[in-house]
């Protein structure tokens, strides 16, 4: 059966099943969502209006037995940044959509009346139903209702109350294999889904549905080489499974780049209390799970199950970024409070990075004292969840709250909160924050690997030399990985082990019966970046938006006492390819 696209029009509540245009056939994941958004969405449209479109696309390798290939890309024009946006997540949906032969699910238009709908996706199309009873429900409740209705194996994509209220910090959640959620976190895509009136999307797949492989033997061989490389590399094979991503708390703190107290310092005195090492010991003590995958077929298993002091489940997928943002950035040194907030944010459906950085800015403005974890939990549960005026304000994100409180130290690029690496002390990632088509986004070109972790080479984090080229190469490669539906962490072995990179190209070729070269894959990455950049330029962005906030150039960051010293011309060199 040929691949198809489902197009749901929420204005007249109709569904069209379309063949895939030839020029889209070699694309998946981010490559496809960005291409569709660029082709069909007017760059100057309001992100929450009927002319924006929300596109879901599994990666090119999703649904196959390839390790770590279950990432789902979600694209639209972002209500947070005003740029094009792709945000991806694990969970089970990507593999299910791929097994249905779906290249993409496109949601367009807007219902005339204020109503909430569910979309049930099957081999036959999409059934649209009104769901008044789901109004205001958190993600965990929505997942439970849908699993009861359609069965345990059903894929669920949903928004919490924040998405319904069209908050710019709202994310989209994807059910994981255990019935918890993973999130396409960044850029407020939950608000776009809310603006379409879609509370949840469920996916049911016939048992026998499988992704066709053009050259099965070749495919099998490459799959084996790839999985072996993931298990052999010390980062993906040992470090990530044992300590999770939170192992970085101590690494980045030692490097003096852990943004602390709303980006005033690069070290957090209580770093050990919130470190991956401490989390690991607490999980062992309390009977949680050290290793856990966000999707079937994940061999890295960087996620974990974190229990509370009573041994009861509290949260999973307890990431470095989430722990840093509420921990060091808001000076909360209590891992249990951070876990509680993490779970609340998953349920309400807000991005943990944007929300906690927003809290840090609000603390700077005097809303709460730094370190007040209980205060953050209270505001999340009582204000953000229910949409009080304070909740709506926080829901606008860090830039909005910075304005409301008259704060000058507001860590955003293109209105998106800067994540867990201070660009003054890790200069390569600063170039990525500036130039990413997504606003400040560490995953777009993870220069931390080469600056600090010494994976894929060695570029001094405190010097300018080589950073623009490094960020450019990483952003091109990442755009290609995001298109394949592969987890970003496969980059660690792929940067160091040549066979791993070759295996990725071989798997794509064998899956589709094509013969891409490594250069073709690089060219694909470049084309995706150019497509996204052109959308942003047409939306009104200029090179002057590719800059860090002023305070990074004027305030010295302890302990290294460094500033951001790139000129505009140096940054603009990024687009010279």
């Amino acid at each position: 059966m040929a691949d198809r696209i489902y197009r749901v029009n929420m204005s007249d509540l109709t569904v069209r099943v379309e063949d895939v245009r030839e020029q889209w056939s070699g694309l998946g994941g981010r490559g496809l969502t960005s291409t569709i958004v660029a082709a069909e969405v007017e760059p100057t449209c309001h992100p929450l209006g009927p002319r924006n479109k929300l596109v879901f696309a599994p990666g090119l390798l999703s649904g196959t037995v390839t390790a770590n290939s279950g990432r789902l890309s979600v694209g639209a024009k972002s209500p947070l940044t005003g740029t094009i946006k792709e945000s991806n997540a694990g969970g089970t949906a990507s593999q299910l959509l791929a097994r249905l032969g779906l290249k993409a699910l496109i949601i367009e238009g807007q219902p005339e009346k204020e109503s909430l709908y569910s979309l049930h996706v099957t081999a036959d199309g999409v059934a649209i139903a009104e769901e008044p009873d789901l109004a205001g429900k958190g993600n965990f409740a929505v997942v439970n209702v849908m699993l009861e209705r359609y069965g345990e194996k059903t894929g669920v994509i949903s928004i919490g109350p924040a998405g319904e209220m069209k908050m710019a910090i709202a994310n989209i959640s994807v059910k994981d294999p255990e019935g918890k959620v993973r999130s396409a976190g960044r850029g407020g895509l939950g608000a776009v889904m809310g603006a379409k009136g879609v509370k949840c999307i469920t996916i049911s797949v016939p048992r026998e549905a499988a992704v066709p492989i053009a050259e099965p033997e070749k495919f099998k061989a490459a799959v084996k080489i790839f999985a072996k490389a993931l298990l052999e590399h010390p980062v993906s094979g040992q470090g990530l499974p044992t300590y999770g991503t939170a192992v970085l708390i101590n690494v980045i703190n030692e490097a003096g780049g852990l943004p602390t107290r709303n980006f005033r310092s690069g070290q957090f005195e209580q770093h050990d209390a919130i470190s991956g090492e401490t989390m690991h010991d607490l999980i062992e003590e309390r009977g949680g799970k050290i290793r856990h995958g966000c999707h079937a077929g994940c061999v890295i298993q960087c996620s974990q199950v974190f229990n509370d002091a009573g041994g009861k489940y509290k949260t999973s997928g307890f990431e470095y970024e989430s722990i840093w943002a509420m921990g060091a950035d808001c000076c909360v040194d209590n891992l249990d409070q951070i876990a509680e907030a993490d779970s609340l944010m998953d349920d309400i459906g807000v991005d943990t990075i944007e929300t906690s950085v927003t809290m840090g800015v609000a603390m700077e403005g005097g809303l709460l004292p730094f370190g007040d974890g209980a205060g953050i939990i209270r505001i999340l549960d009582q204000d953000v969840r229910t949409g009080t005026p304070l909740g709506r304000l926080i829901g606008g994100g860090a830039a909005v709250v910075g304005k409301a409180y008259g704060v000058t130290r507001v860590p955003v690029v293109k209105n998106q909160a800067i994540p867990a690496y201070d660009p003054r002390a890790v200069k390569g990632i600063g170039i990525t924050y500036c130039t990413s088509t997504m606003g400040a986004d560490h995953t777009a070109g993870y220069a931390v690997a080469t600056n600090i972790l010494k994976v894929g080479g060695d570029v001094d984090p405190l010097k300018k030399e080589g950073q623009v080229e490094l960020s450019r190469n990483l952003q091109i490669a990442t755009a290609a990985l995001d298109t394949a539906g592969l987890c970003i962490f496969v980059a660690f072995p792929a940067l160091d082990i040549p066979e791993a990179f070759t295996a990725i190209v071989d798997m794509i070729n064998a899956r589709f019966g094509i013969s891409l070269t490594a250069d073709d894959v690089t060219e694909l990455g470049k084309n995706i970046l150019r497509t996204e950049h052109e959308f942003n330029l047409a939306a009104g962005f200029t090179n002057k938006d590719d800059r860090l906030p002023e305070f990074f150039s004027t305030e010295l960051l302890p302990p290294h006492n460094v500033i951001w010293d790139f000129t505009g011309e140096e940054i603009d060199e990024f687009w010279n390819f």
Binding site: P234, V235, S236, Q238, G239, L240, T242, Y243, G244, T245, A246, V247, L248, N250, V251, E254, A255, G256, D272, G276, E277, C302, E319, Y320, E321, H442, T443, Y446, V448, A449, I452, L453, K454, V455, D458, D460, P461, L462, I488, F489, F492, P559, H560
Partner: protein
């Protein structure tokens, strides 16, 4: 010469989190790694006073040496 050594991730197992050591003669990162019984190829990230360093770098009075295996995240 006094040097503070900080260990992370699995390097802590059976060793310590942090300790201070005295040295009478010049010492390199490699010497200390050997003394700690850590196989050299397992050392991924080395910081001296928060700056990336290599195995052959010599330590000075009051230096902080931090050792990590190869780890990552993001």
């Amino acid at each position: 010469m006094r040097v503070t050594i900080r260990l992370f991730a699995n390097f802590r197992i059976g060793r310590c989190k942090q300790e201070s050591r005295e040295y009478d003669s010049p010492v390199t990162v490699r010497d200390i790694v050997e003394e700690l019984g850590i196989p050299a190829p397992e050392v991924g990230i080395i910081f001296i006073n928060g700056r990336n360093a290599d195995m052959d770098q010599a330590l000075a009075e009051g230096d902080n040496l931090s050792l990590f295996p190869l780890v990552g995240g993001g």
